[in-house]
Amino acid sequence: MVTQKSPYPYWFVLPAAIVFSVLFLAPTFASFWFSLTRWDLFSAVFIGLENYRQFLREPFLIQGTVNTLIYAITTSATKSVLGLLLAVLLTSGIWAQGFLRTIVFFPVLVSTIGIGITFAVLMHPTNGMINVALSAIGLPGPGWLTDPSLALYSVILVDLWKGVGLATLIYIAGLATISQDYYEAARIDGATRTQMFFRVTVPLVRPATVTVVTLSLIGGLRSFDLIWAMTRGGPGFSSDVLASVIYKQYQAGFYGLSTAGNVILFLLIALIILPLTAWFNRREVDL
């Protein structure tokens, strides 16, 4: 009976689908309706597209969008490159390899709140450790989080510090699936280390690259926790990203407006991610 059906039955998907539909999809669809209302949680008044109009008039929307793109592109690009390099380094049999892997991954273990508090302290303009160290060697330290032109980049640095360990781990798992035979063959053909990296490692670690880029790009576009913990979008509005603009509407009790913002953010992410994944999938080779 079973053998006549596909060996990949759709009921495999069922348990996951039930949990996901009930607890995620249904509430999400319900919230789309609320984006068309003035909603204070106690009652909702239908106001058509007014929330969308209001959100698109948000004074810091353009700056927030630019910041979101800077944040997402910088972090995902850096994480994939650094992550791959670190993964190669940490699987090359160097001294203290296991210990180094743990160190690089360690920041991933700590909660964002903890990291936010710690770095806000370390980046303090006058008595933070970083600026104290800089002034000890005669350099004037900048206001990492208080200079409006710098705050976003300081948060990006911390995001990389926190997130590169995860990218490295995914790449290490990816490198693990590459057969040593490929390297043997390349070595016999007289390939150099650099050639092996670009001709063997990079193409064969592609599934990991797709995962790292997709996850960190979506993560970057939606990123909120760390920015909120470190700068709350400030000073002023200078490090606001879309997610923090939306959250501020939510905080202010403008639930319909913030839901409209979420829909807009979702559309923006979809606009970037869907073509990207389509491109990734087209190039996917089945082994």
Binding site: F42, P59, T146, P148, Q249, A252
Partner: protein
């Protein structure tokens, strides 16, 4: 071995839970985590459990600020609120739809004890009282360091110009003229919000006109002045070097220990100094934010938060009995003894004899006729949520005051529309 470890842990936890739940009725309370809130609840629940041994309390903490607003609203809207909860009064209270969600407390025996000044900020649209005061009234003004004032021979300023002159002199003497702490963004609003006594003196109908969309900050010179004053202090370089990163705690430390001459803040800061720098409490003085006219000097006042009970409360009757007791003179004086940082709002409730110096400085404003005015947020439901970011920009010199005022009017308009107010 794993089984044993788990068994031990389970037994330990069962013991913990059992020890917390032996009384007949357990009243749940949801409150924020300010040190004052914790000490109030501590003295109140202890005293009440002694009177009523069959009642025990389970206190659950929540965030303060806007995050706390969301928790309170979410739990009320989903019918999952604790038996009693602590929350703001005034416009935030009104956003809870009290007519539908909160128990009516007008019938309480002690409801008559509640100050007439306080009743409006916890009354539903139908005029019924829904909350009992939880803490003292607060002043919004300027803390100053009495030692610096004595050393430099300065007088408490009655006009804004005198205040700036004092700050300049303190700066010339090597002190920080005015402490600012934008690491906690909300602290940046003080010069604007605490200026409201002066706004009201110059434009008495501003609160009403503002709510009805007839007056704006940009078109009312007296209202825009708060922003201009903030800009002026920032441009004059009177702030501490780390003003962008310093926090509320730092601000109170600076003004209490004499690193800074001034720190604009609400008087609940007194509790912070009493806890962290008790030796410096005597050096901490307080005055109202001065305006242009020395003859019209007065204090902008904030009402304390209140305790409420949701209409859906599981132990509604016991919760009301407890709230009734909280509105008594006896309970109030327990709170006044724990935190003597301002006048309480229950009839005949006395502060202890030896209050901190800053409280002594504040009380005369309350005693003088017309010496106080409520802050704008108790007179109007309209307040833009981005004010604290805008004032950070003005204080830091990122945005000129003129533009900031216009931006704030825009922010206000969004909020009024979201509230569905008429005329907007």
């Amino acid at each position: 071995m794993r089984m044993t470890a788990r068994t031990i842990l389970a037994a330990l936890l069962a013991g913990l839970l059992a020890s917390a739940a032996h009384a007949d009725v357990t009243l749940t309370i949801l409150a924020d985590t300010n040190p004052e809130t914790i000490s109030f609840l501590d003295v109140l629940t202890k005293a009440y459990s002694e009177k009523r041994p069959d009642i025990s309390f389970d206190i659950e903490n929540r965030a303060g600020g806007a995050e706390g607003d969301n928790i309170v609203k979410t739990r009320l809207a989903t019918g999952e609120m604790a038996d009693i909860f602590q929350y703001n009064t005034g416009s935030l209270f009104k956003a809870l739809k009290p007519e539908n969600t909160l128990a009516d407390l007008s019938g309480l025996q002690n409801a008559g004890n509640i100050s007439e000044n306080f009743k409006p900020v916890v009354s539903a649209a139908d005029g019924s009282v829904r909350g009992v005061p939880f803490g003292p009234a607060m002043g919004g003004g300027i803390f100053y360091n009495r030692k610096i004032y004595a050393e430099l021979g300065l007088q408490v300023p009655k006009t804004w110009a005198d205040f700036i002159a004092n700050s300049e002199k303190a700066k010339a003497a090597g002190k920080v003229g005015i402490a600012q702490t934008y690491g906690d963004t909300w602290t940046s609003q003080l010069f604007v919000l605490a200026d409201f006594y002066n706004v009201k003196a110059a434009a008495p109908s501003f609160a009403k006109d503002f709510t009805e969309n007839k007056a704006k900050f940009a078109t009312t010179p007296a209202a825009a002045k708060g922003f201009e004053r903030l800009e002026q202090t920032g441009k004059a370089g009177l702030f501490n070097a780390d003003f962008g990163a310093a926090k509320f705690d730092d601000g109170m430390r600076m003004v209490a220990t004499g690193e800074a001459a001034h720190y604009p803040m609400l008087t609940f800061g007194i509790g912070n100094v009493a806890q962290n720098y008790p030796d410096n409490l005597a050096d901490l003085g307080f005055f109202a934010q001065p305006g242009d006219d020395a003859a019209k000097n007065g204090l902008t006042v904030w009402m304390p938060s209140a305790l409420y009970s949701p209409s859906s409360a599981e132990n509604g009757e016991e919760a009301k009995k407890f709230l009734d007791w909280v509105a008594s003179k006896e309970a109030c004086e327990l709170m006044a003894k724990a935190v003597p940082s301002g006048p309480y709002l229950i009839k005949d409730c006395q502060l202890p004899a030896d209050v901190p110096q800053a409280v002594k400085d504040m009380l005369p404003y309350f005693e003088a006729e017309g010496g106080t005015a409520p802050a704008l947020e108790f007179l109007s439901p309209v307040k833009g949520p981005a004010l604290e970011q805008i004032t950070v920009e003005v204080g830091s010199g990122i945005r000129p005051a003129v533009e900031a005022v216009a931006l704030y009017d825009q922010d206000v308009e969004k909020q009024a529309k979201q509230l569905g107010l008429p005329n907007w």
